[in-house]
């Protein structure tokens, strides 16, 4: 009888490796799905604490989806209490300043439009699309992360792109 010696991730080294592998993905996922005002970093911490507390019950192959579900639920609980703050409040960061005022204004205007358009996407579309465009993840990686098929990821991303372009033109 074959017995899996590592049927939990309760020891520290395995847990740390697991953290290094998945914490950033979880953070990005929560960030793009819910925005930054709900402290995705803290939710990552909380989700990992929960995982550690229940490490004896969670099988290693299920740990990743357990972690993402916990993170998502933590966020949803927070959203329940903060319905008012649901609006996407992302502020673009400035990297360059020596440009002429007109260009700056135009750029600002464009970014504002983009922000509104992004917040108008559905959560599913936004998460998949931003993970793809900003984090540069392949469709397959996103599919694994979200536990959906590659086809579904393609559909979400393409749908998001179409919607964004349409919204920006209209605004």
């Amino acid at each position: 009888m074959i017995k899996n010696l590592h049927d939990t991730i309760c020891d520290e080294i395995r847990f740390n490796t697991f953290f290094k592998k998945h914490s950033k993905d979880l953070h990005d996922f929560l960030y793009y799905k819910f925005g930054d005002h709900l402290n995705p970093k803290d939710k990552v911490q909380e989700a990992f604490i929960k995982l550690w507390e229940n490490c004896g019950k969670v099988k290693p192959e299920k740990a990743k989806s357990y972690l993402f579900t916990i993170g998502n639920n933590l966020m949803l609980n927070e959203v329940k209490h903060q319905k008012v703050k649901l609006k996407y409040r992302e502020k673009p960061q400035k990297h360059h300043t020596n440009e002429n005022p007109e260009f700056l204004m135009e750029e600002n205007e464009y970014l504002n439009k983009l922000q509104t358009a992004i917040s108008n996407l559905t959560e599913a579309q936004r998460t998949a699309f931003l993970l793809n465009r900003i984090e540069g993840k392949k469709h397959k990686e996103i599919a694994e992360l979200l536990d959906i098929s590659t086809k579904a990821v393609e559909k979400r991303i393409y749908g998001a792109l179409k919607k964004l372009r349409k919204d920006i033109k209209e605004l």
Partner: protein, 298 residues
């Protein structure tokens, strides 16, 4: 390759060099690039994995892994069991208590075939569940017992204890008054430190702390069972207080000598007849007024 396929491939970051050239020729190219650049401004905050891991390790130091996950459910089970056992124990050891009010009599069947009839303003307390091990009850007031044969049967009163095996007897414990009459079998009465054994017809009477000898009774049941109280050479005050209990009245005795002895009986069903029965032999007159009865000597 058509436009949509190119865009799809671009989205998957999977364009070959040639395809990329074709993609560059698309009229959408500029717009898509602007969008892509704009999106870069929305990048998630830097996530420093090592720093976050450090944070996590720190907070985990205070929450050790729950290797003993079996302990909590066990505690829950134990708590439920404790509650169940506790309430079971509580309800089974709860005493049964029966009281009678003024002018009320009640016959109670005890857990074995014994019965007890209690007179007005009396109470008994017993435990149904320990009855088979210990036939004991507490009595305050007056009760007539028919005890089934079996183990020792004990009647505890505030002043004395009556112990029997299987018999019929009457116990009357009132203020400054303690009387046990045995009708059948034999009864042992423990009063202060004395133990007295009563044979059928014998009685044991204490009034105001003094033991009083009485002639043997010939009846087989106490008269109050048949709704009549009868007395032989009793101080008049005991008759008065029994009367008060049976009819729920109070007496105003004025200057009458309450210590004089009375022999006779009164019924529990007719107050006028009963009043005559206790006043005529002593040459008294009575007047009723709002539940108070005033007695006068003629």
């Amino acid at each position: 390759m058509n436009r949509e396929d190119l865009i799809q491939k671009w989205l998957d970051n999977a364009l070959t060099t040639e395809e990329f050239k074709a993609f560059k020729q698309l009229e959408d190219y500029d717009e898509l690039m602007a969008l892509d650049n704009g999106l870069k401004q929305f990048k998630a905050q830097d996530f420093n994995t090592d720093l976050e891991l450090q944070r996590l390790t720190n907070s985990l130091k205070n929450t050790p892994a729950k290797a003993t996950s079996w302990f909590k459910p066990l505690l829950r089970v134990a708590a439920i069991l404790a509650i169940c056992l506790g309430s079971y124990y509580y309800t089974t050891t709860l005493d049964t208590s029966i009281d009678t009010l003024m002018a009320q009599k009640e016959t109670i069947a005890l857990p074995d075939t014994s019965t007890v009839t209690i007179n007005a303003l009396s109470s008994i307390v017993f435990n149904e569940h320990s009855w088979s091990d210990d036939r004991a009850l507490s009595l305050e007031g007056e009760g007539y017992f028919k005890v089934a044969k079996g183990s020792k049967f004990k009647v505890n009163t505030p002043v004395g204890t009556v112990t029997v095996l299987g018999t019929e007897f009457n116990v009357k414990q009132r203020t400054n008054y303690f009387e046990v009459i045995c009708y059948e079998g034999s009864v042992s009465v423990e009063y202060n430190t004395n133990v007295v054994i009563l044979k059928p017809g014998d009685s044991f009477l204490v009034i105001d702390g003094k033991t009083i000898e009485k002639t043997p009774v010939t009846s087989t049941t106490p008269s109050w069972i048949n709704n009549e109280s009868s007395f032989t050479s009793m101080p008049f005050k005991t008759i008065i207080s029994e009367f008060e209990r049976q009819y729920n009245v109070t007496f105003n005795v004025n200057t009458i000598n309450e210590e004089q002895l009375f022999t006779g009986s009164f019924t529990h069903n007719d107050i006028d007849l009963a009043l005559k029965a206790i006043t005529l032999p002593l040459n008294l007159t009575y007047a009723k007024k709002d539940g108070t009865i005033i007695l006068k000597s003629e």
